[in-house]
Symmetry: C2
Subunit: 232 residues, 2 copies
Amino acid sequence: MTYELYYWPGIQGRGEFVRLALEDAGAPYVDVARRPKGDARMLKLMQNARDRDRPFAPPFLRSGALLIAQTANILHYLGPRLRLAPKSESARLVLHQHQLTIADWLTEVHDTHHPIGSGLYYEEQKREARRRAADYRENRLPKFLAYFESTLERDPRPSTYVHLSLFQMVEGHRYAFPRTFRRLERRIPKLLRLHERVARRPRLAAYLASERRIAFNRQGIFRHYAELDSPG
Amino acid sequence: MTYELYYWPGIQGRGEFVRLALEDAGAPYVDVARRPKGDARMLKLMQNARDRDRPFAPPFLRSGALLIAQTANILHYLGPRLRLAPKSESARLVLHQHQLTIADWLTEVHDTHHPIGSGLYYEEQKREARRRAADYRENRLPKFLAYFESTLERDPRPSTYVHLSLFQMVEGHRYAFPRTFRRLERRIPKLLRLHERVARRPRLAAYLASERRIAFNRQGIFRHYAELDSPG
C-alpha cells in the first residue's frame, strides 16, 4: 500500500519527522503537496466541512481509508507497521510519550522566531524573538538535551522513530543555533553518537543525499538568524 | 485498581484534563502531590536517573507497573479503560488527534501570559504578553473554536474524554478571557451545548462542587489578567 503524506511544500517542518520514518523503512509514499496541484488537494481536505475528523493542520497521512493528523499520532500509527516501534502497548506508550515531548520541544524552537504570532513575519517580532531565543538557549535547550541524553542507552543503536526524530533535532539545532549547539555538544555524547549512526543507515543516507530532502531554510521551523544564536 | 495521578498541587493545569476523565468515570485514584509529602514523591520520580522513561514533566499517571506521561498520552491510555473512548484503533486515533490539537491550543493559551519564558514571572514579560494575547484573541482563538465547533454533531452528547476536555477549554476561557469569549459565544452553539451537558453529568457535577476541584487562579494555565482580555 502507498501512503500519502500531506505537508506544506518547500519546508522540512513537522512533515520531516514522518518523512524520515517512511524513508528509513523504505515504505512507498507520495509527498502529495509537492506534486502538481497537490497543495490544492491538501487544502481541500483541511476545509472539507463534511468531515468532522478533518485535520486542523498538516502534516497528515492517508493510509487506506484512514486520514490521520498530528505528527506524533502519525508516528504512533506507523511505528509498528514500519518496524520502528515495538508491538506491545506499554512500550508503544513510552515511545509515544517521548515523541510528544519532542513535539513540545519543537514548538519551543518555532517560538524562538515567532514568540508573538505565527501569522506575523519574523521581522514584526524581532525584538521579542531575541528575548525568547535567549531564554531558550540558556534554560530550555539545555534542559531538553539533558533529558533526552538520559533516555539513551550507553551505546545507542537506532531502532525507533524517536531515534530518527532525535537525529532531526540535532540536525536542526546545528543549522539554526550553530554556536550555542557547539558549546553544548560535550554534554550529549550519546545523542551525538545516535545522530551519527542514524545518518549512516543506508536508506536514510540515500534519502539525505537526494532531492527529496528539502534543505533547511528561513521558512521552516528551524531557522538560522545570527542574532538569535549565542553571541560570538 | 487505584490510579495514581501526579501533578503540581494548587493548580488545575494540564492535570485537570486527566482528573475530569477519572472523576467522570468514577475511577479510584489518588492525587499524589496534594497529599502530605506527595510533591517530594513526584519530584523524585522525575529525577530518577535510572529510569530512562521517566517523565519530562507532570502530569503523569501510575497504573500498575506503568508510569505514563504526557496528558494526551494518558488519556489515550485511559480512554477505553474508563469507557470514554471507543475500542477500535482507528476511532481511538481520531480521538487522540483531537486531544493533541487541544494540547496545542492549551500551549497557546499558556503563552498568552508567558510568551518569553516559562521560568520568568508574568510581570517580567507583560509587554510581550499584551501583544501575544491580542494575536491570540483575534486570530488563534476564533480559529480553534471554529474548528472544534465543526467537529461536533448537531446535538452533541458527551461520550468521550475529548468532550470533557472541550468542557474545560470553555470553562477556562470564560475565566481567563470573559469579554472576548462572550463576543465569540454566538459562533459556537454546539460547543456551548456540549459544555452544559458535561457540567450536568452526575459524577462530574459532584466533582465540580467538591473541594477536589481546585479553583482557577493566577498560577495556572488559564489566568485572568484584565489587560490580556479584549478591551471594554
